[in-house]
Amino acid sequence: MVEPIKSLAKAHAVIELLRVHGARTPSEIADLINVPRSSAYRLIEGLRAVDLVAPLPDGRIDLSQRWLRLADASRAARDDWKAARSVLARLAAETGLTAYLAVPRTGSAVCVDWARGRGVELLILRPGGALALNAGAASRALRAHLPDEEHGDAVAYTPFTLTDPSALADDGAAIRARGYSLAAEDVTVGITSLGMPLLGHRGEAVASLSVGGLSADMRDAAETALPSLQRAASALSPR
């Protein structure tokens, strides 16, 4: 990777800081990104001028709402998955479960699209949301088909999350052998998901498809939802 232009790298650092920590005062921002206050003020003013940050009434600086529209535009621009919209909708309709498309990004699985199922409104993962690669069927399907150095750090979301390296290695082998991942209550207690990787030309995971629902509804999912998931995966598979 080339070294990004300094001013943009600093602007990026401010935005990342606000994304992770929420609104902060200008002097907190200066301390956290380690620049003199005067430069932090100039940087914040610059970001404000282009509407990437906005001041709150109490003087703290927060991400602007423009990011909501940028995020929607970014989602809409993912036309390498143009077919995914209708495939996800069919998968959700056939199974009654919420269907997700996720892609790997720096040690995590990022949801890029979804279709809501019948049942309850589960907010496990929305577009733009990310999970560590060790938790959830979408993540674990990706992890099983990515090289070790791209696995990222394991995160324990619930007492049922797999974090032990050898347990995760076994899980990866099992997923590769049977072709799908099954994740029970490892992101949210009470929720189970079923996932399948979409593999690229070199056998690496480029995305995953998954469905999730209440564990009670998912008890027989490996039989009932699997055929739909398989059809959806082969419809989207780049190979």
Binding site: V2, L8, H12, G22, L70, S74, A77, D79, D80
Partner: protein, 275 residues
């Protein structure tokens, strides 16, 4: 290079980067030459900005060769903004203002499955309605705010709610006929507000209107409620426009740019800013 010129260059770079983000926001993906024309920047210096933005994850190579689009990390930032967006916090100033102007009780409600849940209320002087306290819920067919929430649901979701029978509580009013609920929902959706006249508590009336998020999806409803003469009739302290405008003000604070909304989400296509 002096400190002065280096910071001026920094802001200039930020402005150029912003122009790139704006162009990509409105064009899904662009080749470098197209971007160069749109942001009025020579290809050589644009390339430097694109390389930086790509390294930072805000821009990425598009599905097609030689083209760029907004990066995946932008979705993650938008997710964080959406996650922290508190409807209640954004609505409070408007709720307070509506109460100050009308003296009536103002409610903020969101849908939970088949019911409307009150998440905020600003007290009126006349009556203290026991029917709708914070945290209490009402089936979606009864009351101005609940009926707005039902009317603005997507058709399939609305059918599902109606077919479910609303999961009634012992104190709920009786469920009207399906057809009556559907006709009411159509009317409310068409007019963009709901008037309730004693359908929850006899003698109490309310006017409700939808609040939507930046996508134009309805995420809440507000209502202004009081004794019938204070809400309806010639000497009413409130009118429909006041409530609808209040709801629109909350929608705007949630990032909604479009006109008032009902039912299907609007596709708000902005013009790409020139120059």
């Amino acid at each position: 290079m002096t400190e002065m010129t280096s910071s001026a260059t920094g802001l200039d770079t930020l402005r150029k980067a912003d122009a790139v983000l704006r162009a990509l926001e409105h064009h899904s993906d662009l080749a470098v030459a197209e971007l160069s024309a749109l942001v009025d920047e020579p290809v050589s210096s644009l390339y430097r900005i694109l390389t930086s933005l790509t390294a930072l994850g805000w821009v990425e190579p598009g599905g097609r060769r030689g083209r760029y689009r907004l990066g995946l990390d932008i979705m993650r930032i938008g997710y964080a903004v959406e996650d922290r967006l508190s409807i209640r916090a954004h609505a409070l100033p408007t709720l307070g203002d509506l109460h100050a102007r009308t003296g009536l009780t103002v409610y903020l409600c969101v849908r939970r499955f088949t019911r409307s849940v009150c998440i905020e209320r600003v007290e009126g002087r006349d009556v203290r309605s026991l029917a709708t306290m914070i945290g209490s819920s009402t089936p979606l067919f009864a009351g101005a705010a609940p009926r707005v929430l039902l009317a603005t649901l997507a058709d399939a979701d609305r059918d599902q709610v109606i077919e479910s029978g609303f999961r009634l509580d012992p104190n709920d009013p009786p469920v009207p006929h399906d057809l009556a609920i559907r006709n009411d929902a159509e009317a409310v959706r068409r007019q963009g507000y709901a008037v309730s006249d004693g359908d929850v508590t006899p003698g109490v009336a309310a006017i409700g209107a939808p609040v939507c998020d930046h996508r134009g999806d309805v995420v809440a409803a507000i209502s202004v409620s009081g004794l019938r003469p204070a809400v309806l009739g010639p000497d009413a302290a409130v009118d429909v426009a006041t409530v609808v405008d209040g709801a629109a003000a909350i929608s705007a604070s949630l990032g909604f740019l479009g006109p008032s909304v009902s039912g299907a989400p609007l596709a708000a296509e902005e013009e790409f800013p020139r120059g």
